[in-house]
């Protein structure tokens, strides 16, 4: 009985927590979260090495030995051979949709992706091999994890309603939203 009640309460809370507002309002702007999509496909297809890309938007950096990784927010990492810091060589781009942070141990690269961690064997950087597949978190596909944060300024987190037709949500970008139709109360 208790189990069913918890389940029931959970479902009620889920619906109460996420709101889709269909009423018409004047156009307004809020800071909130926008889903970043990767075209649907399995993770194994999405993570791959492509030819070097010019640096565009730059994110965090990571160094291991002579390897220098420069994140492109929500896209992956530029792989730079920094053996000679006066002649760094932009060698390749490792596509990891949704990626912001990476860390390395030995020849393994740990990368965040869709709220989870992908583990990639990069001993041959041209042929990255995923050694831990990532299951998609259903909650992450519905709303940004930040909406679960205790926020001392506001109890409501706005976000752009995700559209599954656009693909898998691999990241949530904090930005200015025009008339967001979705929010989550705490």
């Amino acid at each position: 009985m208790g189990k069913y009640f918890t389940l029931f309460a959970g479902i009620v809370l889920l619906f109460a927590g996420c709101t889709r507002d269909n009423r018409m309002y004047y156009s307004y702007n809020y800071m909130g979260f926008k889903p970043i999509y990767a075209s649907s496909g399995t993770l194994k297809d999405l993570i791959r090495t492509t030819s070097a890309k010019p640096l565009s938007e730059t994110g965090k950096i990571y160094v291991k030995g002579n390897l220098l990784l420069v994140n492109k927010p929500f896209s992956g990492v530029h792989v730079i051979d920094n053996t000679d810091p006066s002649k760094p060589l932009n060698k390749a781009f490792l596509e990891i949709p949704g990626n912001i942070d990476v860390a390395m141990k030995g020849n393994f690269l740990y990368a965040d992706y869709a709220g989870k961690i992908a583990v990639i064997d990069v001993s041959d950087m041209d042929h990255p091999r995923i050694t831990q597949s990532v299951e998609l978190d259903t909650k992450y596909q519905q709303y940004p994890p930040q909406a679960d944060m205790t926020n001392r300024w506001s109890s409501r987190t706005y976000f752009e309603c995700p559209d599954p037709a656009k693909g898998v949500v691999v990241g949530w970008l904090y930005t200015n939203l025009k008339s967001p139709k979705c929010w989550k109360n705490q």
Partner: protein, 256 residues
């Protein structure tokens, strides 16, 4: 005047102490691809590896602990919920420093799977990465869209009593982002304003040597005799000189 054996003893013990403190950060620039060696992130990192464990800030209110002893997989071992506003992680010896919007949290990760809370350092609410070297932490505070009513400053925090971090110095800044302390050098990214290079021979009183205002800096990693800066103009590398910096290279950002 001390006697020679006594002198040697002091020398050896101070060498050991120095060695222990220098272990807080691996600065070796070898092409080491050994199976257990880890790399180094910038101070903006929200993910860091310490031994067989990887720590990750998830959703701003949780620290996930992954067991990566198998290397090829990351098993979620524990989730800590120390409160909201978690932003950056920095490995400091056996401690994990967590930069938050309200200050810094310190965890003892002697037991990697179960970090133990040690202490916290509070300041005004702002965005702030943290790095540490020796007995001192360098914390930047910055205003911005998600960092309400903030100040823009650099703080030097005494960690010699890890259970009771104390602010020693405050230096006003413009919009500090990532930073790195490495030997006598401290480089602080000032976001779109550029970056500043400080001499920290006296770790408590950083002395500004240069303000490079043409190179926006979001994050920085120092590597002994040179450092790497990344920002909206590109990836820049510099060599430390005596009061001057020599630009080694640049990979510019190009619109695409």
């Amino acid at each position: 005047m001390l006697e020679k054996p006594m002198k040697n003893l002091i020398l050896i013990s101070s060498a050991i102490v120095l060695l222990l403190f220098s272990c807080s950060k691996d600065k070796s620039m070898s092409s080491d691809t050994g199976n257990s060696s880890t790399g180094e992130g910038g101070s903006m990192a929200a993910m860091t590896i310490m031994g067989d464990y990887m720590y990750r800030i998830a959703g701003g209110n949780a620290i996930e602990v992954y067991n990566i002893s198998a290397d090829s997989s990351a098993e979620l071992a524990t989730i800590l919920n120390p409160g909201s506003g978690l932003e950056t992680l920095f490995p400091y010896g056996k401690y994990l420093l967590v930069g938050t919007t309200s200050g810094m949290l310190i965890y003892d990760v002697t037991n990697g799977a179960n970090p133990g809370y040690v202490s916290r350092y509070d300041h005004v609410v702002s965005c702030d990465p943290v790095v540490a070297q020796g007995n001192y932490a360098y914390v930047t505070l910055r205003d911005g869209t998600r960092c309400n009513r903030a100040a823009n400053q650099l703080e030097v925090v005494d960690l010699s009593d890890i259970t009771n971090p104390q602010r020693l110095t405050t230096i006003p800044m413009q919009q500090p982002h990532g930073l790195d302390a490495d030997g006598d050098n401290l480089v602080v990214g000032e976001g779109s304003y550029g970056f500043k290079w400080f001499d920290i021979k006296d770790p408590v009183n950083p002395k500004q040597l240069k303000f490079e205002n043409r190179v926006p800096c979001f994050d920085v990693i120092s590597q002994g005799d040179h450092f790497i800066v990344v920002g909206s103009n590109g990836l820049y590398q510099y060599k430390y000189g005596t009061g001057t910096l020599e630009q080694l290279s640049v990979i510019p950002v190009s619109a695409n």
